[in-house]
């Protein structure tokens, strides 16, 4: 996998940094933001770079708050975002553990 630079941003590093945040279950595509980046022969789910904005669409982990998520994602992703604004879309939340 070669480095995929989109508008000066290493998109794989950015995706990995976002996915490593404890409040993030996964990066997801589909509604509402339809965030995905199409590269030669592959697609990066949940990230779109457009103009001066990086959009990251995630599934929130149950019992994490949106505030925690935003702080984690911004601090992890901002150094990699090359000065782009980082918008966060919380598209879904994981199902809580049943039986409790």
């Amino acid at each position: 996998m070669t480095d995929a630079m989109v508008d000066g941003v290493d998109i794989d590093k950015l995706a990995a940094a976002a996915e490593d945040c404890p409040a993030v279950d996964a990066l997801v595509e589909g509604p509402p933001a339809m965030a995905a980046t199409y590269l030669p022969r592959r697609r990066v789910t949940g990230i779109r770079i457009e103009d001066d904005v990086v959009t990251i669409q995630v599934r929130l982990r149950w019992e994490s708050t949106v505030g925690q998520l935003a702080r984690q994602v911004w601090s992890a992703v901002r150094p990699l975002a090359g000065g782009h604004r980082v918008d966060i879309v919380v598209a879904d939340i994981t199902a809580p553990a049943t039986g409790g």
């Binding site: 509604p31 509402p32 933001a33 904005v53 990086v54 929130l60 019992e63 994490s64 708050t65 949106v66 505030g67 935003a70 911004w74 901002r78 000065g83 604004r85 980082v86 918008d87 966060i88 879309v89 919380v90 598209a91 879904d92 939340i93 199902a95 809580p96």
Partner: protein, 142 residues
């Protein structure tokens, strides 16, 4: 000259104002958008955690189908998550849910408890303000 003064002054200022707007604000990091599905799931779980309430009976043409359980269609179930929808209008949330309540619990008591949990949890987890939780009790389960 006096009549033109007020119009020329804003025009002189406007290029500067535009330029300052282009500069990034240091504490603005970006937008956070929360999907309605997230809010609906949080609300739905609050009912699931209440042993006194659960998913509602299936509906047809807007009303409950009596005896649907006997026809093999999913009946009201206290141990299932109710159908829930949410609308978000900027930072305000409207939640709609159809639930069943265990007989003979007080409907006022059960719905108030659910409403409080839904409001508290959505506020705490998403920062959104819950403006309305509309609960339709469509069935009583013995």
């Amino acid at each position: 000259m006096r009549t033109t003064q007020p119009t020329t002054t804003p025009r002189m200022e406007s290029p500067l104002a535009e330029a300052s707007r282009v500069l990034p604000e240091p504490d603005y990091l970006g937008d956070v958008v929360i999907s309605e599905r997230v809010v609906a799931k949080i609300a739905s779980q609050a009912v699931y955690e209440t042993p006194r309430a659960g998913a509602a009976a299936p509906r047809m043409f807007g009303s409950v189908m009596p005896g649907a359980g006997h026809m093999g269609i999913r009946a009201s179930d206290l141990a299932a998550r109710p159908k829930t929808s949410a609308q978000i209008d900027s930072s305000v949330v409207y939640v709609d849910m159809a639930i069943s309540v265990r007989w003979p619990e007080s409907l006022a008591d059960v719905t108030e408890r659910i409403r409080d949990t839904v409001e508290d949890r959505i506020k705490a987890w998403t920062g959104l303000t819950v403006a309305r939780v509309r609960i339709s009790v469509t069935d009583l389960v013995a």
